[in-house]
Symmetry: C2
Subunit: 693 residues, 2 copies
Amino acid sequence: MLIEYVFAASALSLVVAGYVATWILKQDTGTERMREISNAIKVGAEAYLMRQYRTISVIALITAALLAIGIRDPSSQWAGAYTAAGFILGALSSNLAGYIAMYISVRSNVRAARGAMTSLDRALKIAFRGGIVFGLAVVSLSLFGLATLFLASPLSVGSDPRLIVGFGFGASFAALFAQLGGGIYTKAADMSADLVGKVEAGIPEDDPRNPAVIADLVGDNVGDIAGRGADLFESISSENIGAMILALTPAVWGLFGINGVIFPLMARAFGLIGTLIGSIFVYSRKNEDPFSSLTRGLIITGVICAAGFFVLTEVLLNGDLNFFLAALVGIIGAVLVAWITDYYTSYRKRPTLHIANASESGPAPGIATGLAVGMESSGLFIIVIGVAILIAFGLGNGFQSLGAGLDIGNPTFQKGIYGTAVATMGMLSVTPMILAMDGFGPITDNAGGILQMSGVSEEARTISDRLDSVGNTTKALTKGYGVASAALSAFLLFSAFLEVANLRGVDLARPEVFTGALIGAMLVFLFSSLAIRAVGSTAAVMILDIRKQFKESPGIIEGKSKPDYSRCVDISTKAALRNMIAPSLLVVLGPVAIGLLLGSEAVGGLLMVGTMVGVLMALFMNNVGAALDNAKKYIEAGHLGGKGSQVHAATVIGDTLGDPLKDTAGPSLHVVVKLLNTITLALAPLFLLALLK
Amino acid sequence: MLIEYVFAASALSLVVAGYVATWILKQDTGTERMREISNAIKVGAEAYLMRQYRTISVIALITAALLAIGIRDPSSQWAGAYTAAGFILGALSSNLAGYIAMYISVRSNVRAARGAMTSLDRALKIAFRGGIVFGLAVVSLSLFGLATLFLASPLSVGSDPRLIVGFGFGASFAALFAQLGGGIYTKAADMSADLVGKVEAGIPEDDPRNPAVIADLVGDNVGDIAGRGADLFESISSENIGAMILALTPAVWGLFGINGVIFPLMARAFGLIGTLIGSIFVYSRKNEDPFSSLTRGLIITGVICAAGFFVLTEVLLNGDLNFFLAALVGIIGAVLVAWITDYYTSYRKRPTLHIANASESGPAPGIATGLAVGMESSGLFIIVIGVAILIAFGLGNGFQSLGAGLDIGNPTFQKGIYGTAVATMGMLSVTPMILAMDGFGPITDNAGGILQMSGVSEEARTISDRLDSVGNTTKALTKGYGVASAALSAFLLFSAFLEVANLRGVDLARPEVFTGALIGAMLVFLFSSLAIRAVGSTAAVMILDIRKQFKESPGIIEGKSKPDYSRCVDISTKAALRNMIAPSLLVVLGPVAIGLLLGSEAVGGLLMVGTMVGVLMALFMNNVGAALDNAKKYIEAGHLGGKGSQVHAATVIGDTLGDPLKDTAGPSLHVVVKLLNTITLALAPLFLLALLK
């Protein structure tokens, strides 16, 4: 059966990931000092993740119990148990993927640092291979989990999709805590290290005298690696789930039968194969910009994925080329989104230069321009998403209708929506490669920190800096990609929700739907507020400790005694875990409360408008932060007075402000957007019993 | 006939306004120097407004011509002409109201300044009476215009509402330019005066040596007075229009007939009478806080309005007490919204204190906390709005249904929506009094500036400072009120749009509606971005000129020679007018383009989600700005190190950043929200011919 190919592809990917991991572990780990630092990072990151997963497990088990008891459905007596089982598997797989990613990243960093002492190519290779293990692990675990559930309870018309729905909910539930907790950890450590170390004590970045420096490096692993891994694990899982459910609508099932259900899984499998091949092409030719190497790998992956879609539509979708074109629309959308993100955040482009110029009049004009750039960046982005949805919908139903006057009960509509599902698959097909490029960033960032702290050759540091700046770019692009895929998969999940909740549409002109929608938009603002504050309050505790350490032993600043790194690590860990609870509960309980009070359609409004506002706010915050960061880098590259000038001071303020926006609140919103969708999908049966209707 | 009462009330209000204005003009204008300064402000403000109105007239005439030609409706051969005629009258009335408001404010300022040299009560009385003229003029002109149009073409079932629809569109069109242009002017002048004067040259606020000081004072009149006047002129007009159209739905017409159509106008008339009486009670008893005097006046107005609603429901709405209760819901909503705004922005409350405390770690943590406070402030606010809509809807149809499964074609739904209309009338009934309190702010601000520049007694300055700080509070509250009324009247106008566009609902699950909605949300972000930038680029030109003046004649700083104030006034004028065009066109053409491409329902999505996002972003920006401003004031009151400390410097940066958010982008968004509604209402017939459907 076809599903075996899916297993084969995920198994193959896991084997390759294991093989690459073994290769990495065999590499040289450099000097004693380097190993010592790397070890401190490893211990900190493992301790944090273990505690985080413990916290998540407790909350997840309670939630699973509530699901098992609370979800009742006359048509399926096991509804609650199925949802709970899927939920636990989803949460576990997400945590496992994050753990594997962190496991390899804290081991690649020191080896990449050692590689930088040899050559650029060597460092690139090690760091990128660390990323590859990350990307393959995340994607193949998701695919493996879903394929298993599919085998356990094959989907067909009338069958109960709650196992996979629960899986999606579990994955996004775990992802929210992972991304938010990791984001709080990393930015609180970063801000405290900067504010006390750089500003107050006047010591450079990543200086071993800074008590928070290890916490800062740990943060890259738990926030940027484990957090983003969970985010995209969740994206690809829920996209697959949404597409599988939509394949069950009468019109699509009538056309493709079970093939339409398996198509999303096969498409993902092709993405893995494409990445395996594409990654071979990532090496640095003489003097080649590392970014071009990564881009080459990505392009090759994209081409293979496109070819894969061609084959798959031939075999599974009756050779209907329209669906192949829909997948292309998704792939092209991904490219455009990356280009737009680059335009708005790169310091070679006008928007960021505007920020730098405005900063000449002071920090306030600079930051105001930064906010304006962030808001503006949504323009082209939204147009790309909107046009992609319209074209894909048209391709799906042979341009019979744009949807006016149709609803989810209509065959033309169902085929159109499946077209958008295929476009979403197209966009997400290159995910493992994107993740590899993303994971590359924190690994080289860490490598740079290790080199700096161990005081080895200036030359190696230059190489790692060069890779680090490429890492910053790939990180910004991944976030743009993350938002775009969240927007597309959310549109998909809406329709899946309508199908599951037995709704014909979501009409905003009804007062309870309007109110639900307003509350959805408000939840996004409230969540962002709590996330930003969580960073602030975590940082406040760390700042006090760093000051205390400097005061208690003045030898630290003179370089005579060593600071107690583990105290800062411990503080971040505890505070991040404590502060991630409230915002997460808000976005979990908010939709449930509205659903129980006002019913399914109101939740639909909450969900849709919450998603749109979430996408815009995520874009805004990610891009404000990245543009302010790069405006600072532009000044540091020697423009407009360079380091130490008034303008530099102004941009440093902007950069610090942007940090919690771009690395905590923004990326957590990607997860919120999808969580809103999976939670409503999972709890749809409950909302039929709303109080006020 | 009843409509005569409406004319009587607006005529009476205009007469009273004229009488109060004459009283103000009779007051003493102080010293020669004071008159001189006041005259410069007057000349600058009049020159700006005249040029602004000229620009608006040109664009409005072109638009009116396009409306006359473009709007076709098989059922009414005069559709285009009617819309165009209403449009012109709306735009003219809005401009006239703004002009009258500015006329009286630039004459009250110097008299209030002179009053402050006598006593607090005297200054309060003059400034508040200036505000009263403002409030009465704005509201009675709107009422007068609508009543005239109603007489010219009485509304009944099947009649053509295009005259009043055009009026609403014209009013919001003119308001957008007025609020945005004025907002750009005032903040660009403020920022430039601060950045070059206070920061670079180290001279105090409102110092006569600052070349931008007159431009700054002019700004208060053209932005805060004329701009806000146009904003609320538009709010009350479109609320009346929406309610009148909804009174024509079969169920409401069946219940109340023509009385339901006249009810909104009568309710507004009662608001005018209530304000006339309430304003008598605004005087400062011995040592009384001026804010309590204003609150007393507002409470009395509110009580009279409530009584008015009771009488009106008895007489016009068959004595159905539910509608009286719906009006009370609106009035209570207004009170709650004011309370919430105060909580989030007052420096006596926790959120602003958090900002001040966070600023101890530097400007970035302070601003980040400010952003978090702004985002958080939406929470309670949205809940109040949502609950108000649900209760009012329930009251309207006797709690038969919350709307689930109903649409605008259903009688239960129509009655419910009329309930929300009455709640909106309730909230907006106290508008003239709110406007008076709002106008009070810029007048005392100006008075303080005049006193400072003319160097008269320290004591008078203390009095004007005390009034000024009250003015800051009332200004923040008015903005909260403005957003709340925008949200409520938008919900009303949605339903009016559905009725006019012959739609049954707006279903977000359709791809073209989803896309339209995403674009609506995006337009809000893009507009905000352009508005913030417009302030930046206008300020950039002024900053260069101020520096040049200081350089050209060094005598200015020494106080030996006078700066050329008129150059700065001229620069602000030109740049503000130039920079207001692009953002305005964006929000005018955006919905038109989507409507022509994707049709009515997609525009409906744009409209609704654009409104929600607009409301949230307006709240966010208004409150971020006000909270950052007040955090600075808290430090300046001597806390955490007081003026001149590091913390103070940090909060000054935050305040400067907040300025364009709270006084340009935020208030302009109030208008955008309503413009989206009136433009789609006016152009509804065009969207039936959409290209892609």
